[in-house]
């Protein structure tokens, strides 16, 4: 092979290497970047996030913030098979918990028209159980101590329906999560006492406010 040919091959190889390989890094980045931004946009517009926030009101300022995409929970739950949890469903013994037939109770609430079911007002506490705006609302105000504590739980009826949609002695958590993901931005649980503030809610943001 002549020197001219060797030189030509060497230069060609160098140029080929430079042309072929140098954009790889850029490609790798550009391929990753749009995917990332697409995901980010998608997560803002479509994904439903369940948020849990616990803030201690004492001087230490302890706080816990948990953000869970409902889709992630829906996909991961069926993979957990431990004790009573199997395939995203929880087994409950004969649908009785402390001698309360949960299924019968849920069915009764589901078929009953909207309104106030229980209202208790006493010096110790106020309790309110109602079905309102297609949601089951439980409100408890504890006045026993000098420092009041307040609990409010609001569960969409569709979520309760989905929860009891499985077999006789099962609660379908995945179906409940799926039903929850179809809901708009909503508050689910709010607890306020002299030590902590707990809030559980659903929205489309992937960050806690």
């Amino acid at each position: 092979m002549s020197d001219l040919n060797k030189s030509f091959i060497a230069k060609t190889a160098l140029i080929a290497a430079a042309v072929l390989f140098s954009p790889l890094g850029v490609l790798a980045q550009s391929a990753a970047a749009p995917a990332s931004s697409t995901q980010s946009t998608a997560s803002v517009s479509q994904d439903r996030w369940l948020h849990v926030r616990v803030i201690s009101t004492d001087a230490k300022g302890e706080s816990v913030r948990v953000n869970v995409p409902l889709e992630l929970a829906e996909k991961v739950l069926p993979a957990i098979n431990k004790e009573r949890l199997h395939a995203g469903k929880v087994k409950i013994d004969d649908a009785h918990v402390n001698d309360v037939d949960l299924r019968a109770l849920a069915e009764a609430i589901r078929t009953t028209k909207e309104g106030e079911f229980v209202t208790v007002q006493s010096n110790d506490c106020d309790v309110r159980l109602a079905k309102q705006s297609k949601r089951l609302i439980i409100h408890v105000l504890d006045k026993e101590d000098s420092k009041e504590s307040e609990v409010e739980i609001m569960v969409p009826m569709k979520v309760i329906d989905a929860l009891f949609s499985a077999g006789k002695d099962e609660l379908d958590l995945v179906a409940a999560l799926h039903a929850l993901s179809a809901q708009g931005d909503t508050e689910l649980v709010s607890v306020k006492d002299h030590e902590n503030t707990v809030r559980i809610w659903l929205d489309s943001k992937n960050v806690t406010d």
Binding site: F21, S22, G25, S36, S40, D47, S63, K75, V76, T208
Partner: protein, 143 residues
């Protein structure tokens, strides 16, 4: 001839660099702030980990796989879903002067633990954890 070899060598180097760059880096930072404290800072190309696992003795891999067998499907499901959320905060705990945060950043799992006497920061590409999970699953299946 020398130039050809150099070009090929350079090409291989660039290709390996591009692959490493694409896969990212695993970063582990451990800083202790007490007497006799240690500071450990490890940067490992993420691409090296699944490759290195091929050199781990099969008996060790089987042993690890058997211990992790129960959690592997869960880990696999979590990782598959986490990859959809490349930049998100999942858990944040603040307790007085301690701070724990679990998040994803640019497709990497980020775990940060900050305490007055210790600081641990871990950054690992989700794809690397998934590769490791796959390999453990393969060994678990073969066990």
């Amino acid at each position: 001839m020398v130039l050809t070899k150099a070009a090929l060598g350079l090409g291989t180097l660039v290709l390996a660099g591009a692959y490493t760059f694409q896969e990212g880096v695993i970063r582990v930072d451990v800083d202790q702030f007490r007497s006799g404290s240690s500071h450990v800072h490890i940067w490992v190309p993420a691409a090296a980990v699944p490759m290195a696992m091929h050199f781990v003795p099969v008996s060790h891999m089987r042993h690890t796989s058997e211990h992790a067998r129960e959690g592997l499907p869960i880990l696999h499901a979590v990782l598959k879903e986490l990859k959809k959320y490349s930049d998100a905060d999942f858990v944040e705990v603040v307790d007085h002067d301690q701070h724990v945060r679990v998040s994803t950043h640019e497709g990497k799992l980020q775990i940060e633990v900050d305490a007055p006497d210790e600081k641990v920061h871990i950054l690992c590409p989700l794809s690397t954890i998934e590769d490791v999970t796959y390999q453990l699953e393969e060994h678990a299946a073969g066990a």
